[in-house]
Symmetry: C2
Subunit: 307 residues, 2 copies
């Protein structure tokens, strides 16, 4: 039996991953916001390093109330919009619908589980460099791997089927046996680089070139790993060195939080900083430098919200 | 016997303190840099909350080589210029000349002592709000207390005479029995507010209004106190609360490092951050958040030097 998909938040992430599934012939229904009219008329364009494609007849909607019930909901919203999920998701769900939160940070599944305690919930970590470059127009610049993991309700076979659907559609995907570990591992990169590029108004390469901040990025990574391990995630200390090497090999890069800051959008401070800090603290480890970065970001957020 | 004074660095600090001594009839010789010609022609104007005054005949020089030997040298330079002292001081000194470093931070006396191991050296902490507002023109806005302390060579009677000269000239001055403690206490305020106003490009009052940064300022103070006490300074933990209250009562304020940053002058990172961090670390305490602030400042310094 083939799975029916819905994509909530059809931007840089949702437009690409949903687009790949649709292009491979899967049934995908997309929720659009500002781009709805444009996509209805012109379709969806994806410029991708692994091959450009255009979807002409897109199942596009402007409200989930108008969408059909599906088997899988791919949530690709910014976490700053997660309060909307309580009202957005029900029209899409049957009792076995798997909600996959393709989002950064820690605690997104736990929060959704308090609202839908019986629903299958999974997480997804996207290792991708993609941007929305215009109306109904996504640019996929590099990478693309999708790491999936179950959070609640044992729907092992379905999550593997989702992963297989992605692989069939040309997206490198895999199912992680330990979603919490996968989320913490991604935070080892996200926590230092997202916040520091905002606070110092810079790019990843400049942070790496300066001796003081290069050392600081390493220390922040080590602190996140210590926090992860206090929570039982089992992340190796050498993982920090790998992430430094990875960043050295990357082209100069503005992480998603820096783009949010530059475009005056709310930053994902809650799930990328506050929740990991709280989780580590509860487990007995104080991520002191990460907490300082959080405070600086909250100051910046409130300063530019006041404008 | 009355003391002869030299002032090295006749700006917001040196112009005020030296000006007060000169106005009270003490013999004071001033080293000027850019303002030399102006002061020779027009004198020195001090607009002060405790009474404006003008000095018409100022002993002004543009090089210490032209200055007489004195009994006391008041060093009011930014610490970023301290490498110049090795060549600037000798023309002013007899074997008992007391060099008073009226500067912020930790380690300035120790560095000078390696160059002049036999010379009497003292420190001075200025609790003052003053600015240079034009050529030969100082504005003294608030406070003014001067805290003096001996570093090397026991010249107890001279340091008390210097203090008495200031008191006679209308400057509240006192001799501290513990210069290291006095320096650390000033750092409890200077470390959090100087760096954070630069990194977040803001003022003291805004840091106090935001809940996250207010808590962070308190944590940074507590960390400095822990560092101070690891070094044996004996600073009470309640001193942090006093400093928070003081800051709440202050008018919105840009600390000296913020002014340096705004006017693209080098920041006093070495003596206000690096030395205290190293001293605490050597004594077994890692000021982790202060070290993060130092790294951020070094990044900013290198970024605006590269412009």
């Amino acid at each position: 039996m083939s799975l029916k998909y819905a994509v909530i938040g059809s931007g840089a992430l949702g437009g690409f991953y949903g687009g790949k599934l649709a292009q491979a012939g899967k049934e995908v229904h997309f929720l659009f916001h500002r781009d709805y009219e444009f996509v209805r008329q012109h379709g969806l364009q994806v410029d991708s390093v692994s091959g450009d494609f255009h979807l002409l007849n897109v199942n596009a909607y402007r409200s989930t109330a108008a969408m059909p019930v599906v088997d899988v909901v791919l949530v690709c919203l910014k976490t700053t919009n997660n309060a909307l999920l309580e009202t957005m998701l029900p029209p899409l769900m049957h009792p076995d619908t798997v909600v996959v939160l393709i989002q950064n940070g820690l605690g997104v599944e736990a929060d959704l589980a308090t609202v839908f305690p019986q629903q299958p919930i999974a997480g997804g970590l996207a290792f991708i460099c993609s941007n929305k470059v215009g109306d109904g127009h996504i640019a996929h610049l590099d990478y693309g791997r999708l790491n999936l993991g179950l959070y609640q309700v044992d729907v092992e076979s379905v999550i593997h089927q989702i992963s297989a659907d992605f692989v069939q559609s040309g997206v490198p995907a895999e199912v992680s046996p330990n979603l919490m570990k996968a989320r913490w591992q991604k935070l080892v990169w996200n926590i230092p680089y997202n916040g520091m590029t905002v606070v110092l108004n810079t790019t990843t390469d400049r942070l790496m070139k300066n001796e003081s901040t290069r050392r600081l990025m390493h220390e922040l990574m080590q602190e996140v790993i210590a926090g992860a391990n206090a929570c039982g995630a089992g992340v190796k200390e050498s993982f920090a060195d790998k992430m430094l090497e990875l960043t050295d090999s990357m082209t100069p890069y503005a992480p998603s939080m820096k783009l949010d800051f530059d475009f005056c959008r709310p930053m994902e401070i809650e799930y990328i900083y506050s929740r990991p800090i709280q989780a580590a603290l509860k487990a007995g480890f104080d991520m002191r430098k990460v907490a300082m970065l959080e405070a600086q970001l909250r100051f910046i957020q409130s300063a530019f919200t006041l404008k």
